[in-house]
Amino acid sequence: MITTMAVAIAEKRIGRRGESVYSGRAKAVLERSYLAFRSSAWIVVLTGFLEPVMYLFSFGYGVGKLIGKIEVAPGHFVSYAAFIAPALLATSAMNGAIYDSTWNVFFKLRFDRVYQGMLATSMGPLDVALGEMAWALIRGLAYATAFMIIVGLLGLITTPVALLAIPAAVLIAFGFAAIGMAVTTYIKSFEQMNLINIVMLPMFLFSGSFYPLSIYPGWLQLFIKSLPLWHGVVLIRSVSLGIVNTSLIPHIIYFLVMILLGLFFTTKRLTQLFMR
């Protein structure tokens, strides 16, 4: 038996927990995303963060003129633009993460067979899952930062605490990326992929992004409050208003659970699909 460098590296991990699913090489998968990104069109990258900005201008100023100020806490009114900006940030974190972890993953999984190639090496499925999500997060971080800069320039940031919206956006992105990737590993056709979009849009439109939930009947409010985007919107809206207290903990836990469930099922499914 010849001990090459690849073998020596693999043998170093013998006896570690989860050695068959994780080799500590998520960064190689991340590096792959970077290499692929390097050769993609810059304009696509640049325009990627335009969506929330356009919504902000269109709704914040257009609809804002018709609606006026919104009461966010008893006696506390903010401009309509300031009201929707946090929701748009949460939504764009969600959309970006979902796009990266569903469509992109779907193609690599079913058409380009990229993961098959990765898993023929001494890496494991958890490396792949973590590496892919790390990329989604880096992108989310970049877009969230860009969005906050614009929001700041428009004078909608009134407290330094609001900068916590950036890590909050990354947390939201992580949660959606994890769940999105897990779901995608179960999906077989384009038809089913379309179902994802059908869930996403109403979540965006009804999660209290554009107006307070108070106009809905109680049962509908409860339902919406069980959806992840609502938690994201509340989280970012709170920190944007300078509110940081224990009331945020349930929202954070909600996303942590999403992350764990997503990672667990993605790893399990990739194992099933490629190493069964």
């Binding site: 919504y55 201008f57 003129k65 979009n197």
Partner: protein, 278 residues
């Protein structure tokens, strides 16, 4: 002898028929493909605007109506103001999608146009076939969506039905232009990306869909004036609830949209012939 002449005439009749009906063959092929996707088509093109109507028309509408009081927006309740714009947006987006994707598919993904072109079908027939099958599909979407609007009480069917026609007209005009653009696109990924982010999205957001375009700062109003959706929406509001339009403005709206139709079709014919003979 008889055998030979029969064969000869058959060939002539066949070519003749293809020449005349080629467009219909292409339409038939397209409609058959669409039927495979009927579920996605329905959900994509109808569910989405339905959600917009429910969320914005009713949700945002509640707050807007409260503030506007009896004056209303453009003299009417918010949902009535919104309805013609959404109808036009549905028409334009569906028409656009139904020419862009088949065209990219035909030239790039599955190269079906080249297979069609190997039969007596010409580039122009394939272009027209793609165009008219999209028109048929869009008629379906517009009628169904109009029914949804009626269900929401957002339009008065007896009065507002011509808004289906103005929406279709706008969609057919801009669709022709997108047919040319899609036939022009060599880099499909880039084209789709830019179309989504720099065309569909701003079109939807800055065309006075959700509020009178005059609410926007002037530099952004330009976007609306250039947008086919704004022209379609103005016409739609005019026929739906009597939004005020002067005669010359009506002519401008129709005329502006017609420019897309004419240039678009010429562009498409040119590109289809060019790419199929390359």
């Amino acid at each position: 002898m008889t055998d030979l002449s029969r064969r000869g005439s058959l060939v002539i009749i066949d070519t003749d028929r293809t020449l005349k009906r080629g467009v219909f063959y292409v339409i038939e092929a397209r409609l058959r493909t669409m039927m495979h996707w009927i579920f996605s088509l329905l959900t994509g093109s109808l569910l989405n605007p339905f959600f917009y109507l429910a969320s914005l028309g009713i949700g945002v509408g509640t707050f807007i109506n409260q503030r506007a009081g009896s004056a209303g927006i453009d003299g009417v309740k918010y949902i009535i103001f919104l309805a013609p714009a959404l109808l036009s947006a549905v028409a334009i987006q569906d028409f656009m999608g139904e020419v862009v994707f088949p065209t990219l598919q035909g030239f790039k993904w599955e190269k079906t146009f080249f297979a069609m072109n190997a039969t007596p079908l010409t580039g122009r027939q394939i272009a027209l076939g793609t165009y008219f099958s999209s028109l048929i599909r869009t008629i379906g979407s517009v009628v169904i969506y109009f029914a949804v609007l009626v269900g929401f009480g957002a339009v008065d069917p007896a009065r507002a039905w011509p808004s289906m026609v103005t929406s279709l007209y706008a969609a057919a005009c801009f669709g022709a232009f997108m047919l040319g653009a899609a036939a022009h696109a060599e880099n499909d990924d880039l084209f789709l990306n830019l179309m989504g982010r720099l065309l569909i999205m701003p079109l939807f957001l800055f065309s006075g869909t959700f509020y009178p375009i005059s609410s926007m700062p002037l530099p952004l109003q330009w976007l609306g004036w250039a947008s086919p959706l704004w022209h379609a929406t103005e016409l739609g509001r005019w026929v739906s609830y009597g939004h005020h339009l002067s005669g010359s403005m009506i002519a401008i709206h129709f005329g502006y949209l017609a420019i897309f139709l004419v240039t678009g079709l010429l562009w498409a014919f040119n590109r289809f012939d060019y790419r199929l003979s390359k």
